[in-house]
């Protein structure tokens, strides 16, 4: 039973990290029908920024908590700036082009950013310090859940609640939903659509950066390639849940995380990808639009 609980909590942790990244995919897809292949790289850049800031701040003698908070903040700001710039450089000029063009541009951006970090940093794995301290109150339950897992779960659920609030109740959120549903009509009621798209990229990037910091600190090492791997998983989660749907991305990510956790726990970690993608295939056979995806037949 305890083992089962441990697997569930491990799966939820993993899933909530996927969710942070998957939200960026699904929001961007929802609003401009683009699969942003460079999104994983934004997450990777978040992790690197956090690493650089952590090293500098530690050298300067800041205390642990200050280091975590400032490094995460820096990662979020940096990655958002990258996400914003990538959209302006690589996607905005192609707004009226066929759907394939921005897709190719996205792949190009992904390769560029990977190699840029490879050249600017190194191809080796870099150790990432464990930023999250061991909590006292967790000690009795250590065999079930670790401190980093708790921090990850709390941070991601807070971020998701804030996001839900933003999308549901704010003016910007309403403009985002309207733009996703009918871009030209949104313009006709006075929405500055380019700005809404920029905001979407910034929010998605900020969430991905948060995921980058949390996972890097949990796993303990990073390199220029982590964005690709995490990106594929998060993208799978987004498709699983129904791409374009925000609750779908979160649900898909949690299902994926739990599947992998149970596959690792009861079968073998070699088979976690088999189970993850096997599940994707099954869901796409029986529900092609994803778990919460909308079938896109619209009355005109």
């Amino acid at each position: 039973m305890e083992y089962f609980l441990e697997l569930i909590l491990g799966g939820l942790t993993r899933g909530s990290i996927y969710a942070l990244i998957a939200l960026g995919y699904t929001m961007v897809y929802g609003i401009i029908q683009l699969i942003n292949f460079a999104h994983g790289e934004i997450y990777m850049i978040g992790a690197f920024t956090a690493l650089i800031f952590t090293s500098v701040l530690t050298l300067l003698g800041f205390n642990e908590i200050a280091v975590i908070v400032l490094a995460s903040l820096a990662a979020v700001i940096y990655s958002s700036a990258y996400g914003y710039t990538v959209e302006k450089i690589a996607y905005m000029p192609l707004r009226r082009a066929s759907r394939l063009s921005p897709l190719i541009s996205a792949i190009g951006m992904s390769i560029f950013l990977q190699n840029y970090v490879l050249l600017a940093q190194t191809s080796d794995f870099l150790p990432f310090p464990n930023l999250i301290p061991e909590f006292e109150f967790i000690k009795p339950y250590r065999h079930i859940i670790s401190s980093p897992e708790i921090v990850i779960l709390i941070t991601t659920s807070t971020a998701m609640i804030l996001l839900t609030f933003l999308i549901k109740f704010t003016r910007t959120g309403k403009a985002m939903r309207a733009t996703a549903q009918d871009r030209n009509m949104a313009m006709l009621v006075g929405v500055n659509v380019n700005r809404v798209i920029s905001i979407t990229f910034v929010i998605g990037s900020a969430l991905a950066a948060l995921g980058g910091v949390l996972i890097a600190s949990h796993v303990g090492q990073i390199n220029f390639y982590i964005g690709f791997v995490a990106g594929i998983k998060a993208f799978t989660a987004a498709v699983l849940g129904g791409i374009g749907s925000i609750p779908g991305a979160v649900l898909g990510a949690l299902v994926l995380g739990l599947t992998e956790s149970f596959a690792t726990g009861y079968v073998s970690s070699d088979y976690e990808d088999v189970f993850a993608f096997g599940l994707l295939v099954l869901i796409l056979i029986f529900k092609p639009a994803g778990i919460l995806g909308r079938v896109t037949a619209r009355k005109v």
Binding site: K174, A178, Q181, D182, M187, G190, K299
Partner: protein, 235 residues
């Protein structure tokens, strides 16, 4: 108030609007009639800035607007009810109305305007928490017009409001268009295929053929014009 001078618009390489000249004064209801594919919808989209004009000039209340972003044009007071209603399907009726008032900041008056809308169309009040996509055709048209009114426009552009609606609802909608014109001093530019209906509601009219204005006159004269009667009124 609105003036199109020698406007030329293209879709790719195909010229849709050819040397278009239209003038609308404050308080008028002006209609633009013509067959399918004459360029009526393109005219409205060009005014709203969604289709760029390649040459010519569009001015609105003394400001040049043909190079403006669509959202800036809306902020000057031009709202459009596009063809096919274009209700946001996964926003509720209330949220759709809220989107109409997107650029306004005067919360109190927004509330008042919503009450006014619910007076005009009680059915929308009953459906206020339903998704826009679940409404019937007539309800969608009511919502589309209401959404545009929520912007408190100076100039209201209407594209085929009668399309696909039962005669009773069409009559109701035209009554309301006239009511808005009189009560709120809103200028209306009405594009219609149903020429009879449009000319009866309007003060003046333009006839469009193949992207050109071929005729413009008072609505009365157009209704009795031999060519118009033959081509558009089926008489």
């Amino acid at each position: 108030m609105l003036r199109l001078k020698n406007v030329n618009s293209f879709y790719g390489n195909i010229q849709v609007l050819k040397n278009l000249n239209i003038e609308i004064s404050r308080g008028e209801i002006i209609t633009l009639i013509g067959a399918n594919g004459a360029g009526k919808t393109t005219t409205l989209m060009t005014i709203s800035g969604l289709v760029p004009s390649r040459s010519g000039e569009i001015t609105f209340m003394g400001k040049t607007i043909h190079n403006m972003r669509p959202d800036r044009i809306v902020s000057l007071g031009i709202s459009q009810v596009p063809e096919g209603r274009r209700i946001f399907p996964y926003l509720t009726v209330l949220e759709n109305l809220d989107m109409g008032a997107f650029l306004r900041t005067d919360r109190k008056n927004i509330k008042k305007d919503m009450e006014y809308i619910f007076d005009l169309f009680p059915i929308l009040s009953q459906r206020r928490n339903q998704f826009g996509g679940t409404l019937s055709g007539g309800e969608r048209q009511m919502l589309a017009i209401s959404r545009a009114i929520m912007a408190r426009p100076v100039l209201l552009l209407l594209d085929e409001p009668s399309l696909g609606l039962a005669p009773l609802i069409v009559r109701q909608i035209f009554e309301i268009i006239k009511k808005i014109n009189i009560e709120n001093q809103t200028t209306v530019f009405l594009v219609e295929q149903n020429a009879n209906l449009a000319l009866k509601a309007a003060h003046r009219g333009y006839v469009m053929e193949n992207g050109r204005i071929t005729l413009s006159d008072s609505a009365e004269n157009l209704l009795s014009n031999e060519n118009v009667r033959k081509a558009y009124l089926g008489l």
